[in-house]
């Protein structure tokens, strides 16, 4: 068993998830099966093999530095669960 309920709690915190405490063992068991499977790669000899990090073959792609139209602010704000005329609204972040 590589992944424990405590690991799931830690991963959930890193990933901003909030699993039901009663489910932690079950989630851990399923993740463990998958991690156990993917661990087969440890046995592959990759000495001196470069990692494939970019599939497009294009690096440092930039667009011309020319102002252009952006998406409409009101349209974008309309998708937010809470917003004012100019901003996304969130709960208070700092307690006084």
């Amino acid at each position: 068993m590589t992944i424990t309920a405590a690991d799931v709690r830690h991963l959930a915190r890193l990933a901003s998830l909030d699993p039901d405490p009663a489910e932690l063992e079950r989630i851990a068991a399923k993740l463990d099966t998958i991690v156990d499977y993917v661990r087969q790669l440890q046995a592959v000899d990759t000495t001196g093999v470069e990692p494939a990090v970019d599939m497009s073959g294009m690096v440092g792609v930039t667009r011309p530095d020319v102002p252009g139209p952006l998406l409409d602010r009101a349209t974008l704000l309309a998708n937010a669960p809470a917003h004012s005329d100019a901003a996304f609204l969130v709960p208070k972040v700092v307690e006084r």
């Binding site: 790669l41 592959v44 990759t46 093999v49 990692p51 599939m55 709960p91």
Partner: protein, 475 residues
């Protein structure tokens, strides 16, 4: 299963000759409304009728459009301005797209008409269309079976004749596998061939948009409209358009060197194996040369994929935080709780599993052992294909080990679901094109599909081989 009464090419020819786009759009809307497979999640009748009138006006004004009046179904992870797009996830409930995906915009500019959004596995994470928050899609031939996934709704839309053309996305086989299981054509282009702007991202080094249709000719038609550089997607490439399909599809097979991996046969159900053997025989009698090749690292493809795709997904899906769009949990006391509870309520269990797996393989202490290692094995897989395509022009192979399986059969064991993707994942890891074509029926009359792979940017060669196989199999 009956296809739409006309192919995309035939509809475009009729409309370009002065026939109105409206009757076939109405026919498609009628069929969509009467669908019993749960293939569609959102219908756009009013918008479709307005667009049909626009297409008619453009034709009257003298324009000729390659997809004039063609009804189109798009996967629920593709944005169409003013329409909902939720990637079949509760976390995007109520989201309205503020712009249109480039691939869809190009099809619409060429005369296609979006009639509906298709059901899919949540965030394209699944192989059976059972992880959708809108409920599973049923196979059009047998409602107790799955249609494949994640573009299950798109494949069924074409197979059941709701529309002649659909768009899907393919991250590890999500166009080709449902196309194969439903008996339609599905094409995953070379990585970079089609802009991904406006596609809700899953695994950004793997995702490609592609067409599903009843014929290779229609898939090719849609590809050539969508292909090309888009300033809004820096991974889209400036490449010449693929060459047109040969007029005689059989001509492409004469002298074509078709590779195959002999070991694939052992991993197939008997009915799927029989169709693969029959296809090889048909290709040989049509003048193709069959070349045995090896993909020694293919056995690692699933492990590589579930490390890289989940790592990329964990990163891509961090944008769903309950702040800017989609669902926000009620009653959270601080910002951290808004994030965690909105995500816990909004994401389904498979999506949460992949986010946690991706977070694990990217986390401190594990990155080199998992993520970097997987990137290195990805290089080995890319090299395998380079060696294969030094010996042959295209590679013929299976898509799925079995025909469409029963609903619920693999949902309790995610690893079993993942393992069924063994034949489709490598194309995404290598960034190469692959086309799924119908190759007859297996047991219970269920469709069997086969696929051709080709080197990067050989999309035209791969499609020509697919058209050739369809022709010699009588498709």
């Amino acid at each position: 299963m009956t296809a739409f009464p006309a192919t995309a090419s035939a509809i475009a020819a009729t409309v370009n000759a002065g026939g109105s786009a409206l009757p076939l759009v109405e026919e498609s809307l009628r069929r969509c409304a009467a669908d019993t497979t749960n293939a569609l999640v959102r219908h756009h009748p009013q918008r479709a009728r307005e667009r049909a009138a626009v297409v008619d006006a453009r034709i009257r004004a003298g324009e000729r459009l390659p997809l004039a009046g063609v009804p189109l179904v798009v996967k629920d992870n593709l944005l169409v301005e003013g329409c909902g797009a939720e990637a079949c996830s509760r976390i995007l409930e109520g989201f309205v797209a503020p712009y249109t995906a480039s691939a869809v915009a190009r099809l619409e500019a060429a005369g296609a008409i979006v009639v509906a959004h298709a059901n899919m596995d949540e965030f394209a994470m699944g192989s059976s269309n059972e992880s959708s928050c809108r409920g599973p899609v049923r196979h059009p031939l047998d409602p107790t079976r799955i249609p494949g996934g994640s573009s299950g709704g798109s494949a069924v839309a074409v197979a059941a004749g709701l529309a002649p053309l659909a768009l899907g996305s393919d991250t590890g086989g999500s166009i080709r596998q449902p196309a194969g299981l439903c008996g339609v054509v599905g094409f995953k282009p070379t990585y970079g061939r089609i802009s991904r702007y406006g596609l809700i991202a899953y695994g950004s080094s793997l995702d490609q948009i592609g067409p599903l249709a009843t014929t290779v000719v229609d898939a090719d038609l849609a590809l050539r409209v969508m292909a090309g550089r888009d300033p809004a997607d820096s991974t889209s490439a400036e490449r010449p358009l693929p060459a047109p399909l040969p007029a005689d599809p059989r001509a492409a097979l004469r002298g074509l060197r078709v590779g195959y991996v002999a070991a694939h046969e052992a991993g197939l159900a008997a009915d799927v194996r029989a169709r693969l053997i029959a296809a090889k025989a048909a290709l040989a009698s049509a003048g193709a040369t069959l070349v045995p090749v090896e993909l020694p690292n293919e056995r690692h493809a699933i492990a590589v994929y579930y490390i890289l795709a989940t790592g990329e997904a964990a990163s891509n899906l961090s944008r769903f935080d309950g702040i800017r769009y989609g669902r926000r949990a009620e009653g959270a006391k601080d910002l951290g709780q808004v994030y965690a509870r909105s995500r816990a309520e909004g994401f389904g269990s498979e999506v949460q599993r992949r986010i946690m797996l991706g977070t694990y393989v990217l986390s401190t202490g594990f990155y080199d052992a998992y993520y970097r290692k997987a990137q290195q094995v990805r290089t080995l897989i890319i090299r395998d294909f380079a060696a294969v395509f030094a010996a042959c022009d295209v590679l013929l192979g299976p898509i799925s080990p079995t025909t469409a399986f029963r609903a619920g059969e693999k949902t309790s064991d995610p690893l079993q679901m993942y393992l069924a993707d063994i034949f489709t994942i490598s194309a995404n890891l290598a960034g190469i094109p692959a086309v799924a074509v119908p190759a007859g029926s297996g047991d219970h009359g269920l469709p069997v599909g086969l696929q051709f792979h080709g080197p990067a940017w050989s999309d035209d060669r791969v499609l020509a081989a697919g058209a050739g196989l369809a022709a010699v199999l009588g498709g």
